[in-house]
């Protein structure tokens, strides 16, 4: 695997998002949902000028957006058959998958970058503590990377974008709602272990301005593991 190959794939994939109407629509949808949520949760006269509640709820928007970004990453190649020329190219599976993943992360970063008008508006309206906002963005980005990696795995498993999208959404929901329900049934310390998989709880710390390397490590490592898993699946496909 070469870095240049990975960068080339990432650049091509990133630009591909803006070559199709889907990319623009996803971005617009993300901004519409986020804006509506921001105006309902943050723009409340008399309330503290923080984005804490917004960050705690934002993962629900990402739940739709991230699978929408990731669904076509590999499924499209599988459906259109362009996977075979790619496999025969000098690009390693890891470079291919990693490049696509980086492109998706870049697109998510672009989406989040567009929302910087929200903190800018808060700064304009009142006195703001920027630390928790920066931490909140970091948390959301990490969460997005985790969801994109999960979506990438499903995208390598099926040629149907819809199926990849639905499978990703269902898995994220299961991980979020399921573990909380499971924790309720378990006794200590197993309930703590179950709750450690909860996205919401991890995001809450970032939202209030606490950068905990426990969460940082969790998101980064799980994302890395999922990307490697996706690369392995592609490798297995090639071997098969």
């Amino acid at each position: 695997m070469t870095i240049s190959g990975l960068v080339a794939v990432a650049k091509r994939e990133y630009l591909a998002f803006f070559r199709t109407p889907l990319g623009w629509c996803v971005l617009a949808l993300f901004l519409l949902l986020s804006g509506a949520m921001f105006s309902r949760l943050v723009l409340l006269p008399g309330e503290p000028a923080t984005m804490r509640d917004f960050f705690s709820f934002w993962w629900r928007v990402l739940l739709v957006i991230c699978p929408a970004i990731s669904m076509r990453l590999m499924s499209d190649e599988l459906r259109s058959g362009t996977i075979d020329p790619l496999m025969s190219s000098p690009v390693h599976e890891a470079g291919l998958v990693g490049g696509k993943y980086l492109a998706a992360c870049g697109f998510l970063l672009t989406c989040l970058g567009c929302t910087l008008i929200y903190p800018a508006m808060l700064v304009w309206l009142s006195r703001v503590d920027t630390g928790p906002i920066a931490a909140g963005y970091l948390g959301v980005m990490l969460l997005g990377m985790y969801q994109l990696a999960l979506g990438l795995v499903f995208s390598t498993l099926t040629s149907s974008q819809t199926l990849a999208f639905l499978a990703t959404v269902a898995t994220i929901l299961l991980l979020e709602v399921g573990v909380v329900r499971l924790a309720e049934l378990l006794s200590p310390p197993w309930d703590t272990w179950a709750l450690s998989l909860s996205i919401d709880l991890r995001l809450t710390d970032f939202a209030k301005g606490l950068i905990d390397f426990q969460h940082l490590g969790f998101f980064c490592l799980v994302s890395l593991w999922l990307v490697i898993l996706a690369a392995c699946i592609v490798r297995l496909r090639r071997l098969a």
Binding site: L31, P48, I228, L229
Partner: protein
């Protein structure tokens, strides 16, 4: 198997092993991060961590404590809810760090009483608390039952004596005795009959109170029953003794006729037994105590409470400390810049310290008023009793002009020189009886007050002295209270009050109340722990007086200015303040005194437009000083701590400002929380319990701003703009890019 198949299998196996290895590595790394990963608080004020002081308190705990906060989270202000949850989480983390995962030093529990589960847990908690003090409750119930029995017997004796008197009156009438004697007997008979009836009804009311729970806690209102019985029985022995003395005088008086002497003797005969029964009742009632849990019960509201529970309380200790739940759950006032999170942390930390303490400070409220404070029903007294009880203190009243000596409880505590001696703090109320109504009583009370103050200073007692302005300097006489304070090395100008100019409409008026700035202060002032506790809290003083070092400083004491006011054209010391006081008295509203003297009247030679050039060193120089903390410069070993706080505003601690509140989000919030904080932290400091004083709140409050109020139309426009404009722009840009691309092709 062909070579290619074998190679394939081998590669598949390698991939599988690789996946397993990567999975194991990731799991291991996540576990390591969970155990060892650092946490960084990126808030501006570092508000997500506990202060070193709090961590030290938690680490120093020698037994586990539980913090329980019960609240209706559905009605709680959003910021208050987040703040409470954050602080509790931090205490839980620190508790685990100081102890271990399985047995933390501090355990926390947040009960949501809006949910059935929370309500059930809250009810169970209250039952458990009552159970912990069950032995004490049972013992007190038995004592109360005995007093009720005694009250019943005493009431019968009083009624029986009234009947005896009525019989004597009938006999006197039959014998043609003088009407004046018969009238006296009838009056006395009526009085004893009424006394019997009052005692019966008081006993019946007390029995009712003892038969049902007082509030949310399943414990009767022992305190109310005790005060009812004490109030009804306290005066009876004196009344009987006076009656007896009068009859003895008549029986001995040479000028009395034989029939009068015989009548007096007949009335005296049964009184010995009555005296002993009533004396025994009064003594039993006076010794009635309230189970310790009752004081905590007052701080527990129907759906909210904040408690620190000691899991292994030492013998004789209740092991529960309550905090005013509103102090923790308050949404705060918009004009305050107080760091409420830090205050919540400090309230909990202070309560943890208090829970581990075994000695309870004794707070003596000394006064020269004609009535008992309980009878006066002052809300201030109720508030301070409740707050002192919550923090483990005990309030004792000393009515200087009524009680012959200091209360025995206080006397005993002062004689105790052991290391476990209870701290004793005297709060000297300088209010005197109204001189217009009773000049003689007022003069006598003033003399008694200054004599007591001098004695307390000479005895090196810890004192809280709020000083009222005096009209004596106006007529050239020294104010005895101000004179007494010279011994402490300070001089208080009680003849001139600080007035501030204010605008009402287009007119300048003089106002007797002044808000003390507690935001920007000098480093020296902030260094004092009480000053720190007040930072950010709105504090208001009525008729403030300024304090200077005395001309002959006393090297035994070190004096620290606590509250200061910067000089300015709108603030001066008015010598002719009585003119304004008369205007205030004639009006009903302190806040708008339209007919008050104009500041231009301050040309009087008695007035001071700037602080006297003396005086304080450092940052307090050339400013008005309105409160000082005094401490004995050297504390000899084995002596009691002597600290004094003088507040140049007699009403600052018990006027309407200390308890004034306003409603925010349907909750009463103190309007001048600094006034109550001044009292609480002063009492803590004076009793040597300064580690309970809220300090962290004084840290520069990096309070996040609030979204400003705006009209609905503007708000709606802003919301629509933020929700629709960015996606619309993105779609437009996408369309543009597409058009450009198609043209390029």
């Amino acid at each position: 198997m062909s070579t290619s198949a074998s190679t394939k299998t081998s590669r598949l196996a390698r991939v599988a092993v690789f996946i397993l290895a990567i999975t194991a590595s990731c799991v291991l790394a996540i576990v390591l991060f969970t155990r060892l990963g650092p946490r960084y608080d990126v808030t501006a004020g570092g508000s997500l961590g506990l202060t070193d002081r709090t961590k030290g308190i938690i680490t120093g705990l020698d037994r586990p404590m539980t913090i329980v906060i019960a609240a209706d989270l559905s009605t709680l202000d959003r910021s208050a809810r987040q703040r409470t949850i954050d602080v509790l989480e931090q205490f839980a983390l620190a508790g685990k760090a100081a102890g271990n995962q399985a047995a933390p030093k501090v355990d926390v529990s947040l009960l949501d009483t809006s949910q059935p589960d929370g309500q059930q847990s809250f009810a169970e908690l209250l039952n458990n608390l009552a159970q912990r003090d069950d032995a004490d409750i049972r013992a007190q119930q038995a004592a109360y039952a005995r007093v009720l029995e005694q009250a019943k017997a005493s009431s019968e004796k009083l009624a029986s004596y009234a009947k005896v008197l009525a019989g004597l009156e009938r006999e006197a009438a039959a014998a043609g005795g003088p009407t004046i004697n018969r009238s006296f007997i009838l009056t006395r008979s009526g009085a004893f009959s009424a006394g019997a009836s009052d005692l019966t009804s008081a006993a019946s009311e007390a029995a009712d109170l003892l038969a049902r729970p007082a509030g949310v806690l399943p414990v009767p209102a022992f305190d109310r029953a005790a005060s009812l019985l004490k109030a009804r029985t306290a005066e009876l022995p004196t009344a009987i003794a006076e009656h007896e003395r009068l009859l003895q005088r008549v029986a001995r008086e040479p000028s009395s006729t034989e029939s009068e002497k015989a009548l007096a003797q007949a009335m005296l005969t049964p009184i010995g037994e009555l005296r002993s029964v009533i004396g025994a009742l009064a003594s039993s009632a006076a010794s009635l105590q309230t189970p310790r849990i009752v004081s905590i019960g007052r701080a527990i509201q129907a759906r909210s409470s904040a408690l620190i529970i000691d899991s292994q309380p030492p013998a004789g200790s209740l092991g529960i400390t309550a905090i005013d739940p509103d102090a923790i759950l308050s949404p705060g006032l918009s004009q305050q810049t107080l760091d409420l999170r830090a205050r919540t942390e400090d309230l909990l930390a202070g309560a943890l310290v208090n829970a581990t303490r075994t000695t309870r400070p004794l707070i003596v409220i000394a006064h020269v008023l004609p009535a008992r404070l309980e009878a006066a029903g002052w809300p201030f007294v109720n508030a301070i009793v409740q707050r002192a009880s919550m923090r483990g203190g005990e309030i004792v009243e000393w009515a200087i002009t009524q009680d012959r000596a200091m209360p025995s409880l206080v006397d005993q505590a002062l004689k105790d020189t052991s290391s476990a001696a209870r701290p004793v703090v005297f709060v000297l109320m300088t209010l005197t009886p109204d001189a217009k109504r009773d000049p003689a009583a007022a003069a006598g009370a003033s003399v008694a007050l200054s004599r007591t103050l001098k004695q307390l200073i000479a005895d090196e007692r810890s004192l809280l002295i709020p000083v009222l302005p005096s009209n004596l300097p106006l007529v050239g006489s020294p104010d005895p209270i101000a004179e007494s304070l010279e011994a402490l090395g300070i001089s208080i100008d009680s003849g001139r009050t600080l007035l501030s100019a204010a605008k009402v409409g287009d007119r300048d008026i003089a106002s007797p109340f002044t808000d003390i700035p507690t935001e920007a202060t000098s480093a020296t002032l902030e260094a004092h722990i009480i000053r720190q506790a007040l930072t950010g809290l709105r504090t208001r003083m009525l008729w403030p007086l300024h304090i200077t070092p005395s001309r002959t400083p006393n090297p035994r004491y070190s004096v620290t200015p606590l509250l200061t006011l910067s000089p300015g054209p709108s603030l001066w010391a008015e010598g002719d303040w009585l003119a304004l006081a008369s205007a205030v008295e004639s009006g009903t509203d302190f806040r708008t005194i339209a007919n008050a003297p104009q500041p231009s009247l301050t040309g009087s030679s008695r007035d001071l437009l700037t602080p006297p050039a003396s005086t304080w060193a450092g940052p307090a120089a050339n400013v008005w000083v309105t409160a000082v903390a005094i401490e004995r410069a050297q504390q000899p070993a084995g002596t009691r701590l002597q600290r004094v706080i003088v507040i140049g505003s007699g009403r600052a601690i018990y006027d309407e400002f200390a308890l004034a509140s306003q409603v925010v989000d349907n909750k009463p919030i103190p309007s001048f929380p600094g006034n109550m904080q001044l009292i609480e932290s002063s009492l803590d400091w004076l009793s040597g319990q300064q580690d309970q004083i809220v300090q962290a709140a004084s840290a520069q409050a990096s309070v996040t701003g609030v979204i400003p109020q705006m009209d609905q139309q503007r708000l709606a426009r802003m919301r629509w703009a933020i929700a629709l404009a960015p996606p619309a722009l993105v779609l437009l840009l996408g369309l543009l890019v597409r058009l450009l691309r198609s043209e390029h092709r």
